[in-house]
Symmetry: C2
DNA sequence: TGCTGTGAAGTGCTTCACAGCG
DNA sequence: CGCTGTGAAGCACTTCACAGCA
C-alpha cells in the first residue's frame, strides 16, 4: 500500500508536513471516541482546513481511503505516522538547563511519543551533576561522547539567546543534523543541518497584530 | 512616515507577520552590538531569507530605508514594533496551572515584552489559592470578572487536551477574542475569535521527516 | 555609485471540479 | 450513489530586475 516510489519521487510541500501533525492529533481524538471511519469533509472541519486539502495531502503518501466510504481512522493514523517516521523512537538530548530547559524536560517527559530525552547538558559548572527530573546534568563537552554512544539524532537548545550559537556548535560538532531551537536567537548552521525554530512571541505578535487590524474601524 | 492608509488598504500576508518577529529579534541583536545601520543583504542573511523579501515585507508598512545606505537599526525596530502593535502592553491571563502552565508562567514572566500575565486560573479545587511564581490561582469561574476588571485581551490555554475546549469556552464567554493555545487539541471557536496554536511536536515531526528523507539514498 | 522600493515574472500551494471506483 | 483521488485552474507568496533616489 505504501509504495516506496510514491514517497521517493514526489516533492512533499512543507505545509503538508505541518498539517499531518494536526490530522494525527484529531484522528487520535476520534479513535478515543471509538469512531471507526471518517470521510474527508468532517475530518477537514475538525482540522480547520478544506476537505480537498486533506485528500491531496494524503495522496502524496499513497491511497488510504475507500471510495464512497471514507478513511478507516486507525489505519490512517498508522499510515501517517509511518510516512512521517514517527512510529519509531527518536532519541534526543537537551542543552541548557535553565527555566525553559526544565520546563521542556518536564513537559517532554510527560508527553513523549517516541521523542525521548536521553541526556541533558549545561555549561554552568554549578549545575553539572545536579539532578533534574531524574536526569543528571552533564557538561557540554560531553555531548559528542553521549551522541556517539546513544545514537542521538535530535538536539534541543533551551539556552539563553547569547549562548544558543555555542550550543548549536557543540551539537553540530557532535554530528547532530537536526536541531529544535527554543532559544530566542537565529542560528548559523551548515546547510546539511536542519533547524526548527519554536518562537512563542511570534504567535503573540500575530495575535496582537490581528487584534489591531480587527479594531481598525475607528481610524 | 507611517501613513495610516498604507496599512489600511493593503492586505498583509500572514507569512510577512511571522517574519517580522525574526527581523525584530535580529535587529535587536545588532542594536546590542552597537550597529547603527544595516542594508537588506546582510540583514537578510542573518534572518535566513532573501533581501528582496525583507524589502517587500517592510514596504507593506511604509518606507523606512535610505537609498544608497540601508536601514537605521533603532528606528527600524521602532517602526516594526509600532506597525505590529507590540510597543504597547498586552495584558494576558493563563488557564491551566499544570506542568506546562507553570513552565509558561515562569518563562513569560522572565521574558515579558509587553506581553504580561495578569492572572492565572485552574478548575482543580485543590490548586485554587495556591501561589505560583507570585500569582494566586483563581477558579475558572472568575475569568469573566477578571477579564472585565483588567481589560484582558489575550488568553493562554495550557490545560490537558481534554479540558482545552472548556477553557476556550470560558475565555470566549468572558469576551476574549485572541487565544494562544499550547494544549494538544484543536479548538472550535466562532470566527470572530483568533487562535494561534503552539505545537512542539509539529516541529519534531518535521525534523524526523526531513531526517528520513535526507537518509533515503540507501533505499 | 549603492541600495531601496516596486511592478512584473516565476513558483508553489490551495481549491475546484469531476472522473472513477467501491 | 457517495466519496476518494487528481488534473487543471486559481491564488498567494517569493524572487527578479531595474527605475529612482540619497
Amino acid at each position: 500500500m505504501l509504495d516506496p516510489n510514491t514517497l521517493k519521487n514526489k516533492h512533499i510541500p512543507p505545509a503538508t508536513i505541518k498539517r499531518l501533525s494536526t490530522y494525527v492529533q484529531v484522528l487520535e481524538d476520534l479513535a478515543r471516541d471509538n469512531i471507526k471511519v471518517i470521510s474527508s469533509v468532517p475530518l477537514a472541519e475538525a482540522c480547520g482546513v478544506q476537505s480537498s486539502q486533506i485528500r491531496k495531502d494524503l495522496a502524496y503518501f499513497g491511497e488510504f481511503g475507500i471510495r464512497g466510504v471514507g478513511y478507516h481512522v486507525k489505519s490512517l493514523i498508522q499510515a501517517i505516522t509511518s510516512a512521517l517516521g514517527i512510529d519509531r523512537e527518536w532519541p534526543m538530548i537537551l542543552v541548557g538547563v535553565g527555566n525553559l530547559g526544565r520546563a521542556m524536560i518536564n513537559h517532554l517527559s510527560a508527553n513523549a511519543q517516541g521523542f525521548v530525552i536521553k541526556a541533558i547538558f549545561d555549561c554552568d559548572p554549578f549545575k553539572i551533576g545536579e539532578k533534574v527530573h531524574g536526569f543528571e546534568v552533564y557538561p557540554t563537552q560531553e555531548i559528542k561522547h553521549i551522541v556517539d554512544a546513544l545514537g542521538i539524532v535530535i538536539g534541543i537548545i533551551t539556552t539563553p539567546p547569547e549562548r544558543a550559537q555555542r550550543a548549536a556548535q557543540f551539537l553540530i560538532d557532535a554530528g547532530i543534523t537536526s536541531i529544535l531551537n527554543f532559544a530566542k536567537a537565529r542560528l548559523k548552521v551548515p546547510e546539511t543541518v536542519q533547524v526548527e525554530y519554536v518562537d512563542f512571541f511570534r504567535h503573540m505578535y500575530a495575535l496582537a497584530f490581528k487584534h489591531i487590524q480587527a479594531g481598525r474601524h475607528d481610524l
